[in-house]
């Protein structure tokens, strides 16, 4: 076979192998636990599975090659069905270089990049040498160092891009203090409680019955107060765990801004280094939890075409910076992405809109409480909660608003966290104006716009003044 292009690093066989094993063992593991006694008699052959995986990973590695020519990134892969992917270098939006605790000691990294095409999966080179990753970044025009040792690379002349790589204009580093604040106010705790809950429900299966019985019996002897203490302790441990998670995920967070790109580095154990093109950013989203709002802080996200971010919490959008002081936000935006910068003060929706919006939850809650009162003796006490929840909704709806200036539009609303979206007319895909009969009579209307992101996003502002809704609609049409 004619040898074209490069192979990815040999080590990738083992990484792929471990990943496959891990994804197999988690669901199967519990099953194994249950039938463990007869495992080797009946299912001994299952031990061959890892061997097959290893062999297939090895062959897969043998058959995977990539090369970078003047205009294209060319990836060939597939064991039986050969796949050839040509990707135009200019079409590559994002490059992510990441490494983890297994790969770091060997100076190995994973390279992943994304194109604007949402249907195709990202391109992943699962393991390459650090220098090689730097070379790839360089060739794809995302590098940040001078092209020096590239003269002896495969296709030398055309590689040097006229747009010389500058050093970043501004570098934002997450300081230790801010990291601590971020950890304290982060919403990771919800995630951890969820995981713990899932684990506990699994624990039922894993822990032998007699142990469970005895421990429950033991618990029953404890006093009520002691149990409460246990719960508090558990909550504390969860909170500490969430602290640790935030530290590991956001430790060393650095945002370097150049004229055309953002480079975001983060993580203590799993280190990622992502480069985004700024002209792909479609909107800026600013999020404030109640706790953050109390201290005047916010988190900045960006919606962009073709992001590779796996951050579940941010739902595919780019985490630009975890903690920004509200006061410093305008200057932060000015430095990070000038075209979205400006005031985020909004005009609130009218009072009649808030009251109309409250109607729905009030009716629903009343119906539920009526039902509970009817069927249960304790049902009447649930009415105490109603005003509290209504008050919460009142303040939530009171937050909604919009602002319009030139080509820039800002929408604010809140469900759990206050979210402010900033976008420009040219990034909006479609614009909708909506009103029901009642709303029309009250002079209210909704506005909604959708933008393109890694998954399409829609933002709306309900119960705004009808005149404003009409104004926004006409603004978009002209």
């Amino acid at each position: 076979m004619k040898s074209e292009g490069k192979r990815i690093h040999f080590f990738s066989i083992f990484i792929d192998f471990l990943n496959t094993l891990r994804s197999l063992i988690l669901p199967l593991g519990i099953g194994f636990f249950l039938g463990f006694r007869h495992f080797f008699d009946d299912y001994g052959f299952l031990l061959l599975i890892p061997l097959f995986i290893l062999i297939s990973d090895f062959v897969g590695w043998l058959r995977t090659r990539y090369e970078i020519t003047d205009e294209h990134f060319h990836l060939r892969s597939g064991v039986f069905v050969r796949k050839d992917r040509y990707i135009k270098v200019s079409r590559i939006q994002t490059i992510q270089v990441s490494t983890n605790i297994l790969m770091r000691p060997f100076g190995l990294v994973k390279v992943k990049f994304d194109t604007a095409d949402a249907d195709k999966s990202d391109v992943v080179l699962s393991v390459v040498k650090d220098e090689e990753a730097r070379r790839i970044k360089q060739l794809l025009g995302h590098g940040d160092e001078q092209l020096e040792d590239l003269e002896n690379a495969s296709a030398p002349d055309s590689l040097i891009r006229p747009a010389g790589k500058k050093s970043p204009n501004r570098v934002f580093k997450l300081s230790g203090k801010d990291l601590l604040i971020a950890a304290l106010t982060s919403s990771n705790i919800g995630v951890i409680i969820g995981t713990a809950g899932a684990f506990l429900s699994q624990a039922d299966d894993i822990i032998p019955d007699h142990f469970f019985n005895s421990s429950v019996g033991y618990l029953a002897h404890l006093t009520f107060i002691f149990i409460i203490l246990l719960i508090v302790l558990a909550a504390l441990i969860l909170w500490l765990a969430s602290l640790a998670v935030t530290f590991i995920r956001w430790g060393g967070f650095t945002l370097s801004v150049t004229d055309e790109t953002w480079r975001i580095q983060k993580g203590l154990i799993q280190i990622t280094d992502e480069t985004y093109k700024l002209d792909r950013v479609q909107a800026i989203r600013i999020k404030e939890h109640w706790l953050q709002q109390l201290f005047g802080l916010c988190t900045v996200f960006a919606e962009a075409i073709g992001s590779v971010s796996e951050d579940k919490e941010s739902g595919g959008s780019i985490l630009v910076f975890p903690i920004v002081r509200k006061k410093a936000l305008p200057s932060f935006l000015e430095a990070a992405i000038p075209r979205f910068a400006g005031t985020i003060e909004t005009k609130r929706i009218p009072m009649r809109g808030v009251i109309y919006a409250l109607l729905k939850p009030t009716l629903l809650l009343s119906a539920i409480c009526t039902g509970l009162t009817w069927f249960f003796s304790w049902g009447k006490f649930t009415w105490i909660g109603v005003p509290v929840i209504i008050l919460y909704f009142f303040f939530s709806f009171r937050t909604s608003g919009f602002s319009l200036k030139g080509h820039r539009i800002v929408f604010t609303d809140r469900m759990l966290a206050k979210t402010t979206v900033i976008t420009l007319k040219k990034h909006i895909q479609t614009f909708t104006k909506e009103a029901s009969r009642v709303q029309r009579r009250l002079g209210l209307g909704c506005s909604r716009f959708s933008i393109r992101s890694s998954s399409p996003q829609t933002y709306e502002n309900n119960q705004m003044d009808q005149k404003d809704a009409e104004k926004l609609f006409q603004w978009f049409r002209n």
Binding site: D279, R280, I305, K426, H427, Q429, T430, F431, T432, K433, E434, A435, S436, R437, C446, S450, I451, R452, P456, Q457, T458, F473, F476, R477
Partner: protein, 160 residues
């Protein structure tokens, strides 16, 4: 700006579709008491079936007799120089603007019901969502498709 409406026949098609869905629901709903009788399921299921049946009657009335004509009356679309405007809705009336510069593709589609009446639906896709004009006379639909794709070309998509 010229407001263009759907073909009147669309009311019949909406009715036919609603009736098909309704009939499927009836099949499922009648299966419940039959099974209850045959397999000794709890009597509770008779009540459930009765409630579902009631809901289904309401569905029939609304979607066959009430909604189609309202939907027909509220729906219109208008093509302006640079954008497409669609108004639709039953209780909540919404107007959506799709600039031609954002349109990625235009698609026409014709199922058996539409085919019988020589109608076609046209849908317009942007990077964020898809909007459909449910039924136009075949020739109108093709014209609209060509018109939109011509306008897309004129407003040449700048790659963002």
């Amino acid at each position: 700006m010229e407001e263009r409406h759907l073909d009147r026949e669309v009311i019949t098609i909406w009715r036919q579709r609603a009736i098909i869905v309704n009939v499927v629901f009836w099949l499922v709903i009648t299966a419940i008491p039959v099974c209850t009788a045959l397999f000794d399921w709890p009597r509770f299921f008779y009540w459930a079936a009765a409630i579902l049946g009631g809901l289904n009657v309401i569905h029939l009335i609304l979607f066959v007799f009430v909604f189609p004509s309202i939907r027909y009356r509220t729906f219109f679309y208008a093509i302006r120089r640079e954008d497409l405007l669609i108004q639709e809705g039953i209780f909540v009336i919404s107007q959506i603007v799709i600039p031609f510069t954002r349109v990625q593709n235009v698609e026409t589609e014709q199922g058996p019901l539409l085919h019988k009446r020589h109608l076609t639906s046209v849908s317009v896709t942007t990077a964020a969502d898809t909007k459909e004009i449910p039924a136009l006379a075949e020739q109108d639909a093709l014209n609209l498709r060509d018109q939109i794709s011509e306008l897309i070309k004129e407003n040449a998509i700048h790659e963002v």
